[in-house]
């Protein structure tokens, strides 16, 4: 893995996380409101850019190696959903999320 591909993997991850949070926020609002349109557009754009970067990375790495980097997003998204979107994050949910992230990191390191 070169510094450039590491940076691209990182950028794809950040954009993906932001996309999920914006989309969730959008889907909870009135689907005809201006706020929905704005949040949806931001979320969709972030995910689209993340998608094309991932597609480019797939040309150089195995799928089972590359895709699991997104697994780090589980813990980050759970924490941010609780902090920003005021969702309930029980200890059980957090342990589950942490196990998933740990598992995915283990997969991507092997």
């Amino acid at each position: 893995m070169t510094p450039v591909s590491a940076l691209l993997i990182f950028i794809a991850l950040i954009l993906y996380i932001l996309g999920q949070l914006f989309l969730k926020h959008a889907m909870e609002s009135d689907l005809r409101s201006a706020r929905f349109k704005k949040n949806f557009a931001v979320g969709l754009s972030a995910m689209t850019v993340s998608f094309f970067i991932t597609l480019g990375l797939l040309q150089h790495f195995d799928l089972s190696y590359l895709y699991p980097f997104q697994g780090l997003s589980v813990v980050i998204i759970s924490l941010l959903a609780a902090a920003i979107l005021r969702e309930k994050l029980t200890p059980r949910l957090f342990i589950g999320a942490a196990l998933i992230s740990a598992g995915v990191v283990l997969v991507s390191l092997s």
Binding site: G56, Q59, L63, K88, I100, G103, V107, S110
Partner: protein
């Protein structure tokens, strides 16, 4: 029959299952397509746009769109702290599909990681399943 199908399709939990299946299918198609795609000069190589020349990439994109629509439906009804960890069941299905359909090798360490993901998904899913029974 049609009524029953419609009722099932409207269930957020069923849509979550569909999301996971669609994502897995899309990734297999995208990997197949990306390998087939012509390599562009280094400067533009990283975007992966050359992948659009392969029909497999387009099949992949169709499944991405399908998974996106079902995921939006899920987001409307299920909190992200529950839906997102559960959607990570794809990290069990994708390595399994890479192994089955793309002939990729899975090491022992990787199998352990897949098992951990599965355990995490079960831990999140269990109280949710109980909650569903009560409804």
């Amino acid at each position: 029959m049609i009524h029953k199908t419609k009722k099932l399709l409207l269930k957020p939990w069923f849509q979550l299952v569909l999301t996971v299946l669609f994502v897995t299918t899309s990734e297999v198609f995208l990997k197949r397509g990306a390998v087939e795609a012509p390599r562009l000069p280094e400067q533009v190589n990283w975007t992966g746009v050359s992948g659009l020349a392969s029909p497999n990439v387009w099949y992949g994109i169709l499944f991405v769109i399908a998974s996106f629509i079902s995921w939006l439906y899920v987001l409307r009804f299920i909190p992200l702290t529950i839906a997102y960890p559960l959607s990570n069941f794809v990290h069990v299905l994708i390595p399994l599909s890479s192994w089955l359909f793309l002939n990729e090798h899975i090491s022992v360490q990787r199998w352990c990681g897949i098992a951990l993901v599965l355990l995490g998904v079960l831990i999140v899913a269990k109280p949710v399943a109980r909650m569903e029974e009560k409804l």
